[in-house]
């Protein structure tokens, strides 16, 4: 159990004992400090997340929806432990989660080869040391799981298609057998047929590994396909959360209704 307490009293804990959840966020407020200029430290604080509380249960995919600028990315940063200025509690059952980013062209180092990229999470693992043999076995295992052919190991990410890249990015994220990961708009940059394949892949990993996920998306249709529960966010607050079907059928909030209408559901 690793517990960090910020100056503002925020608690960030990994390997916490949670009863049946992968992630619990309690009364989280995140602040952004005015940018420090020259030698002066900025002082004005702006609150960007307001009293956010939710949990991701073990083996659950929780959708997070909202327009851009509503705090989705801030929330994911906070969960990854990058944000320092917050109060409230972020408790994780496992280690710090990895992320699958929106743009598979930006999230893979263009100067490296696929095989190297896949091995990196294992080399960087601070909880244990992987021997070269173990690494080789593990990356082949995961590559098979995400359907990346070993022939691609010697290629650069620039030589892969968007779908292949996103598969590699997902492979990197699940390399250390996490119980929880964050998918930040993982399919928004892909075209529709590839989207479907990648969503199916995420879904199947979720089923075979019991992987829990925070699935961030602005596309309510995609959320409907993948997620068990959904959370609607606006201006740093959670408006409502619940089982996807219920929320979609009986949205309790006007904003949710307009989002659904806009998505044509």
């Amino acid at each position: 159990m690793t517990r960090t307490v910020t100056k503002m009293g925020g608690v960030y804990e990994t390997h916490a004992r949670l009863n049946g959840s992968a992630l619990e966020v309690r009364n989280l407020n995140v602040y952004y400090r005015e940018r420090a200029r020259m030698l002066r430290r900025g002082n004005a604080l702006e609150r960007v997340l307001h009293d956010v509380s939710f949990c991701v249960r073990d083996g659950e995919i929780l959708g997070l929806c909202g327009e851009s600028g509503c705090g989705k990315s801030t929330l994911s940063k906070a969960i990854c432990g990058i944000v320092r200025e917050f109060d409230g509690e972020i408790l994780l059952a496992d280690e710090r989660p990895l992320m699958v980013f929106q743009d598979p062209f930006g999230s893979l180092n263009p100067a490296k080869r696929v095989g190297w990229l896949l091995e990196e999470p294992l080399r960087a693992d601070r909880t244990r040391t992987w021997t070269p043999d173990e690494r080789a076995t593990r990356i082949e295992e995961v590559a098979a799981q995400v359907e990346v052919e070993t022939a691609l190991f010697d290629r650069c990410p620039t030589e892969l298609s968007g779908g292949q890249r996103q598969r590699v990015a997902i492979a990197c994220a699940i390399m250390r057998k996490p119980r929880f990961l964050i998918a930040d708009e993982p399919v928004s940059a892909l075209d529709v047929t590839i989207q479907k394949q990648v969503l199916e892949l995420l879904r199947s990993l979720h089923e075979s590994m019991g992987l829990s996920m925070l699935f961030i998306s602005h596309d309510l249709r995609v959320v409907y396909q993948v997620c068990d529960r959904v959370m609607i966010m606006r201006e740093g607050r959670i408006l409502e959360q619940g089982v996807v079907r219920d929320v979609y059928r009986n949205p309790s909030h006007e904003y949710t209704r307009s989002l659904l209408a806009a998505a044509g559901i």
């Binding site: 030698l39 743009d103 180092n109 263009p110 100067a111 960087a124 693992d125 010697d154 990197c172």
Partner: protein, 278 residues
């Protein structure tokens, strides 16, 4: 595997033709230097009664006013000039890239201070700065190398810093940090290979400046001491006999031009339109 790797490395160079042209010229210069290390027609410092001779079979580039064979001196002088430029770059680029990458990555107050010091160093002309250092520590080939090296540090700090800052907010860097990759590894293994194109092209251009600055300094009489010569010094000594033995100026001058041209072409070849290796 090895062949596919070299092939793809060449393919990653934005302008392979320019790069190869430059590399060929450099190969010629380096061949001259290497031959000079093994064999020279005459001892470069040996004087002889055959003074001020023109081009002949015995002396391909003629002799100077002390009867020393100019070709041998050019071979020797190119070696000195080349090594000084190489050493200058090793010091300037090595230190500059290290400091620039680290301060750029961490930012904050240290970065601010380093940048202001860099700006201060920038305000001095390179040659003037080198002159100050050489006059403080004495004139020798090694000191010229250190002096020029230090004078070149700021430009590399600038380049490395701005490139690292450009990259440090990209997703793959964030990703590496989330994975728990240590900072030094993020900087040197994840970021630097991506900016190597820009940095290498700056090294090539810096190399040129080093060759020219060294030649300039030794023209002013600073650097390796007679009777040993670097190219700039030879030109300086030969100006009074330019009309008697033109090859005394043209020989060393030609080698300087070739070195600079070779590295310029290689540098240009590495620099893509958008300023990075694609």
């Amino acid at each position: 595997m090895a062949t596919t790797r070299t092939r793809s490395l060449l393919a990653r160079i934005p302008n392979p033709r320019l790069f190869c042209a430059g590399a060929l010229i450099m190969l010629a210069v380096i061949t001259l230097i290497v031959i000079g290390m093994v064999w020279m027609p005459y001892e470069p410092t040996a004087m002889s009664p055959d003074r001020l001779q023109g081009v002949s079979a015995a002396h391909l580039l003629g002799t100077d006013k002390m009867g020393r064979d100019i070709l041998s001196r050019v071979m020797y002088g190119s070696r000195i000039t080349f090594l000084v430029a190489l050493g200058t770059m090793a010091i300037g680029a090595g230190f500059g890239i290290l400091v620039g990458a680290v301060t750029g990555y961490y930012g904050g107050i240290v970065d601010e201070v380093v940048m202001r010091v860099t700006d201060g160093l920038f305000a001095f002309p390179t040659v003037l700065l080198a002159l100050v250092i050489v006059s403080l520590f004495g004139s020798s080939t090694l000191n010229v190398m250190w002096a020029l090296g230090i004078a070149f540090v700021p430009s590399f700090i600038r380049v490395a810093r701005s490139e690292v800052i450009r990259c440090k907010h990209l997703d793959y860097v964030k990703n590496a940090r989330l994975m728990g990759v240590r900072d030094a590894r993020v900087i040197f293994v994840h970021i630097l290979p991506n900016v190597s194109g820009v940095i290498m092209s700056n090294v090539m251009i810096g190399f040129n400046n080093a060759v020219l600055s060294e030649a300039g300094l030794s023209y002013l009489g600073i650097g390796s001491q007679p009777p040993y010569a670097s190219l700039g010094q030879m030109i300086s000594e030969a100006q009074e006999i330019f009309f008697t033995v033109p090859s005394a100026v043209l020989g060393p001058g030609m080698v300087i031009v070739l070195m600079v041209l070779g590295f310029s072409l290689m540098g240009e070849g590495l620099r893509a339109a958008e300023g990075r290796m694609a």
